[in-house]
Subunit: 116 residues, 2 copies
DNA sequence: ACAATATATGTCGCCCAACGACATATGCGC
DNA sequence: GCGCATATGTCGTTGGGCGACATATATTGT
């Protein structure tokens, strides 16, 4: 799973959101670094729906236009948790190999028992 | 940067390695989860060389065959550090949001560092 | 009144990293 | 000899992300 997709799922982790709100939330999550384009967004939403990682939470009509609220499914929640854990492990290993120990830069990855 | 590329750079973080050794190292790093195909490997190596993130450390001849040892460049090292940090932050945010969901309703999700 | 921007959803074609399959060659153990 | 690990490489396909475009309303500014 690529980062944009992971960010999308993350944006739905705390509460259901509609498309545009997702892009805003992603910008917030990534500290302004990532702007998800609509081409990526709606393509990903369709794909994730098909994969069952998200689901349509509710559909409401605002100003005569349909607004679809997406929510993380149970499967999506598990998947996101797994991806996040795996990603964190990868990042930790990279930092460890680079020789960045507990200097305070990225969290506090104190070298636990697993040295290899 | 995608994960396979990041894993490749990570495999070169502690010492220079040749292609096949990189694939083995990646398998080790990922705890047996990721097997980098040669199609991905040599394509990525070429690309990373062109980008200046890695460089040819040494070329030796073993059993009449050329063996090229790749090393992380300074730029690659910085890049890897940055990517790792950013990835860790993303993963942390995902975990945090998965952890606090449902408790705060919508309004002020206080950033409690209960996760991890 | 008009223009620009924010909100909001969507389509389409291109690009590139990753992938799978294939090709090639040597050394080693059985 | 045969299969496997070691070792490097090519090639066509796929799929996710990107950029550009299309559309429509509400709000804010001049």
């Amino acid at each position: 799973m690529q980062e944009p997709t992971l960010l999308l799922l993350t944006a739905l982790a705390d509460q259901p959101r509609h498309g545009y709100a997702i892009t805003q939330e992603i910008r917030k999550i990534s500290d302004g670094q990532v702007t998800m384009r609509t081409g990526t967004l709606y393509g990903a939403l369709e794909r994730l729906l098909k994969q069952g990682l998200i689901e349509v939470h509710r559909e409401e009509v605002v100003d005569g236009r349909l607004r679809r609220l997406y929510a993380l499914s149970d499967e999506g929640r598990e998947r996101l948790a797994g991806e996040a854990e795996r990603l964190a492990a990868t990042a930790r290993e990279a930092s460890r190999r680079l020789g960045v120990f507990g200097s305070g830069a990225a969290g506090s990855p104190r070298p636990s028992a697993a040295t290899s």
